[in-house]
Amino acid sequence: MKYLWLFLVAVSVDVPLQAQQSRHELLRKQRDDKRAHLVPYAPNSVEQQMVRFDKAETPTIADRNFFGLYPRVAWPARGSGAALGFRYWQPDFWGRVDVASAAFYSWRQYQHYDIQLGLIPHKERQIPQRSWRGDDVYELASTQPGFSRIPFYMTLRYRYLPEEDFYGLGPDSELDNRTTYLQEQGRLYLTTGYQITPHFVWIINGGFQKNEIRSGKASSLPSTEDVFDDTSASGLSKPPDYARWGTQVLLDHRDEPGNPHKGFMIALAYSRFDDRSEDAFSFNRYGLDARAFVPLGSPQRVLALRAGLLVDNADRNHTVPFFMQRSLGGSHTLRGFDSFRWRGEEIMLYQAEYRWEPLPFWDLDAFVEAGAVGGPVEDLSFSNLELDWGLGTRFKTYRDVVLRFEIAFSRETTRYYIRGSTSF
């Protein structure tokens, strides 16, 4: 039908049923008719709420705070489960001195308290990294370049970890030997560093660490001392306190450390642990963490690779306490195995992830991992490599993974993860 649009004009407005003399009259009548039936503009309630949200009249959850007190949900230690608590952050509290603090209590009764004071690295007025970053194998390279001034700050920290898993040391530990112990740990240390180039930083820290080991609180599992003794779990009866210092260098060429699509990172770490109580548990720790992110023809396809090596070298006639030894297993290392499943003085880890990105804020990933532990009894060996694989999906911002869902399979078990951080 020709001039269909005339028909549509007619039916889209209620035109009085009389012949029009001119187009202008026709349009005028339509306007007069609308004028007689005007409706005030009224956005729906969803839109009204979103207007407020966009204008930030209502602070986002992440920004809500009460004089610097920020409510948070966190996972303060491996195996802790989700913890409720708060972080306190007041940049430039006294002149240039920053104050940061945290207190968390998890549903598994893990507790974490800390306070930091000094020139704490942070971006603009954002909350700094949590103080427990860098504690674990997977966080060897936690310190990121980019601080605008030389950091120098003190950290005082107390942790109560009531259900730490222990399966024995070395590659021959048995899944059936799962026990738990309670660890209390207090630390006081100073940290400083220097940014040599925009991608190269050097960190030094040192201080004291006090340890307590007691019976585990998990009612369904035996306590560690019921299954192991000081021979099979050194330091079990007399956990040592330490004076410790260490240094770390980090060469970071990842495009965005929390959500890399290309680049690489190499971290080297050395720590000295001096036993201050028994003179029987002093050791040196050496660590290497190398990661590469290779786009496969497109930034939407990334092959993420990681190799890690950690070696604890005890002084002559000394041993490394079992609870100080690092472990594999859990949401960041060998994901197909339980947390702390493999523990030893020597650790090697290889991870490969294929990440593909349907949307900028949505990743899918498939991964394979291999890792092994060794120690005084049995050296690190490729023949002891444990394998696992899995699949996952992540929701993320440009800078960080916000939520990660994964399923991982190994010869021992199948594990599911919901986490608020990336794997590596």
Binding site: L26, K34, L38, T58
Partner: protein, 522 residues
């Protein structure tokens, strides 16, 4: 009732004043409500709850019987209907003049919304301007794009604010005691000199140390918020055509594709009330090769922009289930960046106008029909190479190579736009009656081969057609009118290479026949 209405209307296809050149939609109205639009709501509603497309999308409702857009509060025909001298093209919407920097510019508020940092300032003449800066890492990028695009869209016919490239120094500014800074979390604090200096420190400077900015003059009238690309304003009696069926808003897609205005969403429009509502397009900082990064900071255009919606779910699913192998060819496009850093990322080789996408679905764009696009492409075609080069020059780029690259790119993109959309309908146009002859031109690139036509007598009361002769074929673009005395004639024209018809209606007047209607088969 409706059937009777239709019959009555169809009984008169052409009115005495057709084709109208103006839609008189500036009738006085009561002050309408101020609208606040949530960008997030706009994104989500248009992505996940977009108005369903009609089974058969209707032709644009506000076009006149020639298929042109009459002048209105939305659009003023400029380059589409007359030759515009280069001086006029480069003058663009500017009439008032830039801020007077001989006296301090008083900052009255920090800029809200949009992706560029800036202020609202008042000069000594009480003129209010919005000042925006380029980030230090990207000199000229957004300010150049803003001014150039405003000049293009003004020449096309849209209402845009006046915009001036400005070079300033921190000492040019004073802070009004009432100026506040909006902090994250909804807090506000008085603006101080430290904030000003921080912002200016982060702004791009030219070699002499001056800071480059773009100053947009506040539009006349009271600002009442953006307009939407769907429906009408319920409190504006002048607004009778659903926006998704306005030809200039459907055709806006073609202009945006040409100029890579992916940020062509409601938030970058503005209505102002001055007895009636005038509809503006604003904020062209994310056009051409300028865009924003994922943190919404000004940056060279994201390669995704123009190629994929922000939330392109079909593409995302395909990528998901093909393990990422599903190609996104735009990811492999090579841009001469940073060779021409000032113009950012824009190119013409990969660009295909029909594939171009805005940041998220736009109801008017989704309803663009071939005749809407043809109308827009005709306007695009009116920009000569010289006109494009002259307008690009208004970006005041430091690098003449960058300026040349951008102009060359827009010329190549123009040619693609015109070639594609002129092929979607029969591109015979410029119909004129001279005495007893109808003449016309083939706007398309494809030679017509021959013209096929047939004359009809047209009954304006019943819309019935009566054939006056059989189909005729001829090579010339001049056709003798039939020797009849009908009040209305219609000629149905095709070419050997374009089977779609264009129907041209002629009305007898005391001076002979005149063109009264054009209807293109789509």
């Amino acid at each position: 009732m409706k059937a009777a209405l239709v019959l009555l209307l169809l009984a008169q296809t052409f009115y005495v004043d057709d084709p109208i050149q103006e839609d008189r939609d500036r009738l006085p109205i009561d002050p309408p409500a101020e609208i606040e639009l949530s960008p997030t709501y706009d994104l989500l509603s248009n992505t996940f709850a977009a108005p369903e497309l009609e089974e058969s999308v209707p032709r644009a409702l506000n076009a006149n019987t020639l298929g042109e857009v009459p002048d209105s509060s939305w659009f003023t025909n400029r380059i589409g209907v007359r030759d515009m001298p280069l001086e006029e093209l480069t003058q663009g919407p500017r009439t008032g003049g830039p801020p007077d920097v001989s006296r301090p510019l008083v900052i009255i508020s920090a800029k809200q919304g949009g992706i560029t940092p800036g202020f609202t300032i008042r000069d000594v003449h009480e003129n209010v301007y919005f000042i925006k800066f380029d980030p230090a890492a990207h000199p000229s990028l957004s300010t150049g794009a803003d001014v150039i695009s405003k000049n293009f869209f003004h020449a096309i016919g849209f209402n845009v604010p006046e915009a001036y490239i400005l070079y300033v120094r921190p000492e040019y500014f004073e802070i009004d005691s009432g100026a506040v800074v909006n902090l994250p979390g909804g807090k506000k604090e008085p603006m101080d000199r430290a904030y000003l200096e921080l912002m200016l420190e982060n702004a791009a400077k030219i070699p002499d140390g001056n800071i480059r900015a773009v100053a947009s003059l506040l539009v006349p009238g009271n600002v009442i918020g953006p307009f939407r690309f769907y429906g009408t304003r319920s409190d504006d009696p002048n607004d009778i055509f659903p926006h998704q069926h306005r030809r200039e808003l459907r055709g806006y897609r073609v202009f945006c594709a040409w100029l890579n205005h992916d940020d062509s969403r409601s938030i970058n429009t503005l209505d102002a009330y001055d007895g009636h509502i005038t509809h503006y397009l604003i904020d062209f900082g994310s056009t051409l090769g300028s865009g924003s990064d994922v943190l919404r900071n000004i940056a060279p255009q994201d390669p995704r922009a123009g190629n994929e919606y922000f939330l392109d779910l079909p593409v995302a699913w395909k990528t998901a289930y093909t393990f990422g192998i599903n190609g996104r060819p735009w990811r492999s496009v090579e841009y001469p960046y940073p060779d021409y850093a000032e113009v950012g990322r824009i190119e013409s080789k990969f660009f295909e106008p029909q594939e171009w996408k805005p940041e998220y679905p736009n109801p008017a764009f989704d309803r663009m029909l071939a005749d809407d696009a043809f109308w827009a492409a005709k306007i695009v075609a009116r920009f000569s190479d010289d006109a494009i080069r002259a307008i690009v020059k208004t970006g005041d780029y430091l690098s003449s190579d960058a300026e040349r690259y951008l102009a060359d790119t827009l010329i190549a993109r123009r040619d693609k736009v015109v070639t594609y959309y002129f092929n979607q309908v029969n591109p015979l146009d410029a119909f004129e009656v001279e005495g007893t002859t109808l003449s016309f031109r083939n706007l398309g690139n494809t030679p017509p081969g021959a013209y096929l036509y047939q004359w009809f007598a047209f009954d304006n009361d019943t819309s019935e057609l009566e054939s006056l002769d059989s189909l005729v074929e001829q090579a010339e673009a001049r056709i003798e009118l039939p020797r009849v005395d009908a009040p209305y004639l219609m000629i149905r024209l095709r070419t050997r290479t374009q089977p779609k018809a264009v129907d041209v209606y002629l009305r007898r007047t005391t001076k002979g026949y005149e063109i009264v209607g054009i209807d293109r088969e789509i």
